[in-house]
Amino acid sequence: MKERAAPSELPGIPRDADGPVFRAPWEAQAFGLALALHDRGCFTWREWTEALAAEIKAAAARGTPDDGTRYYEFWLAALEKLATAKGLTDAVELLQRKDAWDAAARATPHGKPIELPGRRGP
C-alpha cells in the first residue's frame, strides 16, 4: 500500500497494490445494485451506510476476519437485508430464485450462457 502512483499507468483506473477495485464480477454487480436502488429512491444513502455498518459490526461480533477483502460480502448481505426491509423482495423469493439459477447453471454445459427457463435478459 505504499506504492507511488505511477504516472505511466493508464489514467483514471483505480487500482492499487491490492489489485483491481473489484476482485470478481459479482462484487461489481452488488456494488452497482446498491447504487441503482439508491438512484431510484428505494432508500437514502444514510440508510445504506447504516445497513452496511451494521453488517460489518455484526461480522466483527461473530469473529469474522475483517481485513478488507470481505467487504463486498458484507455489502451484499446488507443489500439483501435492506432490500427485504424495504419490501423490494423477500427471503422466500430470493431463495427460490437462487435455487433456480443453481439448477440452470448445472444444466448448462460449460461455455454456454446460463439462462433461466422462461425468463429473458440477465
Binding site: M1, K2, E3, R4, A5, P7, P11, G12, P14, D16, D18, V21, F22, W26, A28, Q29, A30, F31, G32, L33, L35, A36, L37, H38, D39, C42, W45, R46, T49, E50, L52, A53, I56, D66, D67, G68, T69, Y71, L76, L79, E80, A83, L88, T89, E93, L94, R97, K98, W101, D102, A105, R106, T108, P109, H110, K112, I114, L116, G121, P122
Partner: protein, 209 residues
C-alpha cells in the same frame, strides 16, 4: 469461493455468493427496479473512469493557484465540481490542508465512506478493521508504520467520514517543485497522500517505501 468443486464435469457452476447476487439482481430487474443497461454503465464508470487522478488534479491546481486554493478550503464541494468532479459520495466535500504544524488523516470507522468522485473506490486496506480502528486509537503509530515520520510538535487530526461529509487531504507541496506545471505536479500526488497516510515526497527523494 467455497465448496464449489463438484459438478464441474457436467454443468456450469455458480458459487453461493454468485447465486445470491444473480438472484437479487434478476428479481430487481424483473420488477423494473433496476435497468440492466444502467447497472452496467454504473459499474463501468467506477471501474474505469473515476480514480485518484481526479483528486490529484484538484491538489495540483490548489498548489499553483492561490485563489483556487482559498475557494477549495472554503467551499470544497463547489471548487471540486468546477473541475467536473461531481457525483455521488462527493455531494458534501471538505478539504483539509496539511501544513508543517498540522497533519490530517481520514478514516471511516463505521464502514468505508470515501470521496468517490475524487479518489475512486477505496483500497482494501482502507476498508479493513485494523485501519478503521487503529487510525483513531493510535494515528501516530499507524502513520509511522506507513513511513510518515512526524515531529512531536506536529498536531495529528483524524477525521471520521460519514454518510454526509467526505474529506480530501490537501498534502504539503514538496520542496523542489517550484515552477512545475500543474500536470507535472498532479503526476506526483498519490492517493495515499490525499487520504493523509503518506506525504508527497520531494523530487529525487527516494520515492516510496
Amino acid at each position: 469461493m467455497r465448496g464449489d468443486h463438484h459438478d464441474h464435469d457436467h454443468g456450469s457452476h455458480f458459487s453461493d455468493t454468485e447465486l445470491r447476487v444473480k438472484a437479487l439482481e434478476s428479481l430487481l430487474v424483473d420488477k423494473g427496479l433496476v435497468d440492466p443497461a444502467a447497472l452496467d454503465a454504473l459499474v463501468d464508470t467506477y471501474e474505469t473512469k473515476v480514480g485518484p487522478r481526479n483528486g490529484a488534479r484538484v491538489v495540483a491546481k490548489a498548489w499553483t493557484d492561490p485563489a483556487y486554493k482559498e475557494w477549495l478550503l472554503r467551499d470544497a464541494t463547489a471548487a471540486i465540481a468546477s473541475l467536473g468532479y461531481t457525483g455521488r459520495q462527493g455531494e458534501d466535500m471538505v478539504v483539509l490542508e496539511n501544513t508543517p504544524q498540522v497533519h490530517n488523516m481520514v478514516v471511516c470507522t463505521l464502514c468505508s465512506c470515501y470521496p468517490w468522485p475524487v479518489l475512486g473506490l477505496p483500497p482494501v486496506w482502507y476498508k479493513s478493521a485494523p485501519y478503521r480502528s487503529r487510525a483513531v486509537i493510535d494515528p501516530r503509530g499507524v502513520l509511522a508504520e506507513l513511513g510518515v515520520a512526524l515531529g512531536p510538535d506536529v498536531e495529528v487530526r483524524v477525521w471520521d467520514s460519514t454518510a454526509e461529509v467526505r474529506y480530501l487531504v490537501l498534502p504539503e507541496r514538496p520542496a523542489g517543485t517550484e515552477g512545475w506545471s500543474e500536470d507535472a505536479l498532479a503526476a506526483i500526488v498519490t492517493r495515499d497522500a490525499m487520504i493523509g497516510v503518506a506525504q508527497v515526497p520531494a523530487p529525487g527523494e527516494g520515492s516510496a517505501r
